[in-house]
């Protein structure tokens, strides 16, 4: 009876550990930055189309022309994005769907849509978003410890 109970407990712990890893895998959040900028691959310059509309989860998140950048957030290991591409002004639009695997180690991922559209290598169109360094030094934050509680009752 005791052994049986112990086995149930071990199974429960294992199930919870598996769920934890699953959540870490499917719940990793990224901020995606979509660039519509010309890029050079193997000496060949790829130029952006006239206009790229980016849809994420059925919603338009960016409408990009040459040199523009758009942004969206994505939860999960692969970003499902839909690009509505207008190659030249007045030419018919083309819908293309992509599943872009996202690197776990990056919080912000820059996707160069020009590279993606021209089937460039993964490493060439994906890069890490590095925020611009700020010159102002941050002053020390005073830690507010509230042992006795404030009047707000956690509101």
């Amino acid at each position: 009876m005791k052994n049986k109970s112990l086995i149930y407990k071990i199974i429960l712990v294992l199930v919870l550990v598996v769920i934890c890893f699953l959540m870490i895998y499917i719940g990793r959040g990224h901020t995606l930055y979509f660039d519509s900028k010309s890029m050079e691959v193997d000496g060949v310059t790829m130029n952006p189309p006239y206009r790229i509309q980016v849809n994420v989860k059925g919603k338009e998140v960016a409408d990009l022309k040459d040199g523009d950048r758009g942004m969206a957030i994505w939860i999960g290991p692969k970003a499902h994005i839909e690009l509505v591409v207008t190659k030249e002004k007045g030419v018919a639009k083309e819908n293309i769907k992509y599943d872009v695997p996202l690197p776990r180690e990056y919080d912000g991922v820059v996707i160069n849509l020009v590279g993606l559209l021209n089937n460039a290598n993964y490493d060439e169109y994906i890069s890490e978003f590095v925020p611009l360094a700020t010159i102002t030094s941050e002053s020390e934050e005073e830690v507010v410890i509230d042992d006795m509680g404030e009047l707000g009752f956690g509101e």
């Binding site: 870490i24 990224h30 939860i75 002053s139 934050e141 410890i145 509230d146 042992d147 509680g149 956690g154």
Partner: protein
């Protein structure tokens, strides 16, 4: 059996008092029905899970568990990790809940064991334990997170390089459960999934009271000596009730904070026990008796007063702070009143028992 109006009113004096206060304050505040309903629904979703976590220790005769703060701290630590690992949305909430379980079990066992050493003084002991553990929480979060416990992101660390900031943003978790399935009824947003979770917990509590362990807890709550004579391991049962309450409080705190959208690292948990207990008592519960109905009535009345009192105070006195003070002194006052009434009842029962013994 004759209906005793005096007893009926005396037993329900606190909720009746709150109904009167609210019915005076609502027209004075001038808030629309739609606004009040929206606010009440938000607060039911935010607080009910936490308050339900108090029911099990009351069933086991351990009174109002001020130690639920321990579970709240466990929930906060789990959310800090989830935020640092950038796990967003529902997976982030689920991960935080699972991560909080071992911390809650550890703290709950510690609290339950200490409460077994102070039988009859559980409430004051659990209140002081929460301060003691708060000191350890501060040590962990303020000094150990960074140099000893790895924290990757600078954004949640203090500028000095270790310790967690006063506020941790949960923007990417914010209302992920509330918004997953929600409907709009006459302009009132009803977060269906959150209500389903609360109802599931209510059903669990109802089911649990009928299990062997639930019956053991009831027996221990009614009379420890009789329960012991019946072969129940009283100490273990009491510890289990506190562990269950702490784990549920941890889950409740995670649901509360995902609704709020940020963690006030050093203060979110400090008053959570106090206002959950106040809400439960406002609903008509006592130190030794509480039901799911008390929880819902308490959340509605207590938070209705929270919403309308500042505005009503402004209308009456011209100063909104009067309303703020009013709602705070009412909250502490109701806890005091409930404790005094409980002691008075106990004293009366004891006297009556002594009287009947003398007659024999």
């Amino acid at each position: 059996m004759k209906f005793d109006l005096k007893k009926f009113l005396a037993d329900r004096s606190v909720p009746i008092m709150f109904i009167i206060i609210c019915s005076v304050c609502i027209p004075l505040s001038g808030f629309s029905t739609g606004y009040l309903l929206n606010e009440i629904v938000t607060r039911i979703v935010r607080n009910t899970f936490l308050i339900l976590s108090l029911l099990i220790p009351i069933m086991a005769g351990m009174g109002l568990n001020f130690g639920m703060t321990l579970g709240a701290m466990a929930g906060e630590i789990a959310l800090i990790f989830t935020s640092d690992w950038q796990i967003w949305g529902i997976p982030g909430v689920v991960l935080a809940m699972i991560l909080s379980i071992p911390i809650s079990i550890l703290l709950g066992t510690l609290c339950g064991t200490l409460l077994n050493k102070s039988k009859g003084r559980e409430m004051i002991t659990s209140y002081i334990i929460s301060f003691f553990i708060n000191g350890i929480y501060q040590l962990v979060v303020l000094y150990m997170m960074g140099p000893i416990i790895p924290i990757i992101h600078e954004a949640i660390k203090l500028p000095r390089g270790y310790g967690i900031r006063n506020t941790v943003s949960l923007l990417n978790l914010r209302q992920s459960i509330d918004n997953l399935i929600s409907i709009n009824v006459f302009g009132v947003k009803i977060p269906v999934l959150s209500f389903v979770i609360i109802i599931l917990l209510c059903l669990f509590i109802v089911w649990f009271t009928k299990t062997k362990l639930g019956q053991d807890m009831r027996a221990v709550g009614q009379n420890m000596e009789v329960a012991r004579a019946a072969g129940i391991n009283v100490e273990r049962t009491r510890v289990l009730s506190i562990v269950m309450s702490t784990v549920l409080a941890g889950f409740g705190m995670i649901l509360y904070l995902q609704n709020m959208g940020n963690i006030a690292t050093y203060s979110s948990h400090s008053q959570i026990g106090m206002f959950c207990i106040a809400a439960l008592l406002v609903g008509g519960a006592s130190v030794d008796k509480a039901s799911i109905g008390n929880v819902f009535l308490g959340v509605i009345l207590f938070h209705l007063m929270f919403i309308v009192a500042p505005k009503a105070g402004t209308v009456i006195t011209g100063d909104s702070m009067i309303g703020e003070y009013f709602r705070v002194f009412i909250s502490y006052g109701v806890i005091t009143l409930a404790l005094v009434m409980y002691e008075a009842k106990k004293h009366k029962k004891k006297k009556m028992a002594e009287g009947s013994d003398d007659e024999k």
